[in-house]
């Protein structure tokens, strides 16, 4: 009886690895806060209060969660196909560009037509930017890691180029577009917290990703390619098509992250509008074990972290870059947590050995 109990505890402790990673990262982050001469407990109190303690804070958390969730799903989708999409930032910008361009070109369309059209355009814009590295990898085995990274810069500067040219506001002061037509905005559904409908859209898409990945043939093929491309090839699964498709959808989800930010929050396209959501998607996806449910929880966590550190910056004067430090540390601990099953096996083996020794 006692032995079963302790085994259950061991299992519980080890299955909560992402939680430990988060707590460990916050603990280590506390060291950096203390190094700045500020009591970490005070700072984390402000963080918690800022992220979840007030209506406006909670609203900000939700607002930040939306693009993070889309981006996390995007990284996760490619990851399940064995591909590492580090090009989220470029895809996000290219998606926002195509969506923003559509909205600015058809200002007369009513919302029920314009908004879905803009979202689809953003998906396609990001998707194409993702599909190119997917094709290069699938057909010619070129590292998608390098190509997506390089395409980040190309995409970002291309959007900037457009915002200094054809898409620039008519006043011509800043590298930003005109305000997008109101019909393309994501409607506010909770005015007190300034939460827009994007959060439901993101949750819906998370559910859709689950269904596609685990309930359709295409999803099965993508996962088969991800777990063993050679075996998938032998069993007649279209490997090239699966990879390109996975990268298209991955990039498309990144495009939606960009769309959510410009249609829901900023209401115009500008250069530097993303504070790195595309990169944050990597941490979100991996902390969530690339499963839609986990990714959703991880997105809320990182959304809260961003909102909370905003408050910490305001009241304690700590640089916002601290959020990045905690994010990096979380990711490192998530990587380190792969050793937990081995550690667990080791512990159980040792216990069995001692148990056997006792019964002798």
């Amino acid at each position: 009886m006692r032995r079963e109990w302790s085994e259950a505890i061991v299992s519980a402790v080890f299955s909560l690895a992402p939680v430990w990673a988060v707590l460990g990262a916050l603990l280590l982050g506390g060291v950096f806060i203390a190094a700045a001469g500020i009591n970490p407990l005070d700072a984390y109190g402000v963080l918690l209060q800022g992220a979840f303690g007030s209506l406006s804070g909670f609203g900000l958390t939700i607002q930040k969660t939306v693009p993070l969730l889309f981006a996390g799903l995007g990284v996760a989708f490619a990851f399940r196909c064995g591909l590492f999409n580090i090009g989220g930032e470029g895809q996000l910008y290219m998606g926002a560009l195509l969506g923003g361009w559509l909205a600015l070109s058809f200002t007369d369309l009513p919302a029920p037509i314009l908004l879905p059209a803009v979202l689809v355009a953003s998906f396609i814009g990001g998707g194409i930017w993702g599909a190119i590295p997917g094709l290069l990898r699938a057909k010619w085995n070129m590292s998608e890691i390098i190509t997506t990274i390089l395409m980040n810069y190309i995409g970002f500067w291309f959007v900037s180029l457009m915002l200094h040219g054809p898409l620039q506001e008519s006043r011509g002061y800043y590298p930003q577009s005109e305000i997008l037509p109101q019909a393309s905005w994501l409607p506010i559904i909770w005015p007190a917290a300034r939460v827009h409908v994007g959060i439901f859209l993101a949750l819906l898409v998370a559910a859709a990703v689950y269904v596609v990945m685990w309930r359709t043939t295409i999803g099965y093929q993508i996962r088969a390619v991800g777990s063993n491309p050679q075996a998938a090839e032998y069993s007649g699964i279209p490997v090239v098509r699966s990879m390109v498709l996975a990268m298209f959808v991955s990039g498309g989800l990144m495009g939606l992250a960009g769309a959510a930010e410009i249609l829901g929050v900023q209401h115009r396209l500008s250069d530097f509008f993303s504070p790195g959501y595309g990169f944050d998607g990597i941490a979100v996806a991996l902390l969530g074990y690339t499963h839609p449910v986990g990714v959703t929880l991880a997105a809320v966590f990182f959304g809260g972290l961003r909102a909370g550190f905003n408050a910490v910056q305001r009241t304690e004067g700590l640089p916002l870059a601290l959020a990045q430090v905690v994010q990096g540390l979380t990711l490192i601990l998530v990587v380190a947590s792969v050793s937990l099953p081995r550690l667990r096996a080791h512990l159980l083996r040792r216990k069995e050995a001692t148990g056997a020794a006792r019964s002798d």
Binding site: I86, M142, V326, V338
Partner: protein, 310 residues
């Protein structure tokens, strides 16, 4: 047309290309060591940035640029130690680990910069004086392009044949390559896969840190947020382009360095090219040359896979 070309490709342009290639050379050669031993290192960017910052901190507080460079190398190596621990000891995902290093490097350096110097203040450090090589430095054109630089530039160019020699002419080089190609066989021969990989990853971090120090101490005499600006990734592309060979990689670095030099050169000649297009150019060129390689590169066989001793 010809007049335009002569006007464009001056000695000053090529000298700038050599200077801008220097940080890429350090990082890419470092990356070769790591990848040749079987560890993918996409964390070069973060290690470079950490080195750039650590170097400025070091040079600022010791008042000595060379000590700053050493501290930069230590900073890069420290980040590499995390990467080595995660990928070699823990056997975690090397790509994720590298990505984590990049995020952490950016976060840590920005955070520390703000904590130490605040928003307004900037750390100013003394850089290096130009060492004009006697005789060679006086050769017209070539002298200006190759022999009138700060010492770190020469160091980068000396590093290339040294790395080639170590990799292909020493027994340690042979064992590190065998660890990257066939770790099991290497292990059977009594080579410690673990130790070799640790050393190589640390070398890559120290060299990336040195590349960072060139950017901060060597060029700008200060540290700016995210000043590596993707050079670690370009170095990574350069070493693949160079097929994991030091000399070929040097050629790739010079090509990419010249692309960056063109960014400065074009507006100086009053050609009206949009600055955004120019900023895009080095990445576009890197991507296109990379794509031009289609099917022609083979990475070390065991790269990316952790080694489990049986």
């Amino acid at each position: 047309m010809l007049q335009g070309l002569i006007e464009f490709f001056t000695a000053a342009f090529f000298a700038a290309g050599v200077r801008l290639a220097t940080p890429l050379i350090f990082s890419a050669i470092g990356g070769i060591f790591s990848e040749r031993s079987g560890v993918v290192n996409i964390g070069l960017e973060g290690m470079m940035l950490t080195g750039a910052f650590a170097g400025v901190v070091g040079a600022f507080y010791t008042g000595n640029a060379w000590l700053g460079v050493l501290i930069a190398m230590a900073g890069g190596a420290l980040m590499a130690l995390i990467h080595a621990f995660l990928s070699v000891t823990i056997r975690g995902d090397q790509i994720v680990s590298g990505a984590a290093i990049n995020i952490l490097g950016l976060g840590l350096t920005t955070y520390s910069l703000r904590i130490i110097w605040g928003l307004q203040d900037k750390p100013r450090v003394a850089g290096f004086a130009v060492w004009k090589i006697p005789v060679l430095g006086d050769i017209p054109f070539i002298g200006e392009v190759l022999f009138q630089h700060i010492p770190l530039v020469y160091l980068a160019f000396i590093l290339v044949p040294v790395a080639h020699f170590v990799l292909f002419r020493t027994s340690w080089g042979l064992s590190l390559r065998s660890v990257g190609e066939h770790p099991k066989a290497a292990d059977t021969l009594g080579i410690s896969v673990l130790r070799t990989r640790y050393i190589c990853v640390l070398i890559s971090g120290a060299l990336a840190g040195l590349g960072g120090a060139f950017l901060s101490i060597g060029q700008l005499h200060t540290f700016l947020e995210n000043m590596s600006a993707g050079r670690g990734f370009i170095a990574l592309a350069a070493l693949i382009f160079g097929k994991w060979m030091p000399v070929r990689t040097l050629a790739a670095c010079l090509l990419f360095g010249s692309a960056q030099a063109a960014i400065v050169r074009i507006p100086a000649l009053n050609y009206s090219v949009s600055p955004q297009l120019l900023s895009m150019f080095p990445y576009l060129l890197t991507l296109l040359t990379f794509v031009g390689l289609v099917g022609k590169t083979t990475p070390p066989a065991a790269v990316g896979t952790p080694y489990v001793k049986e």
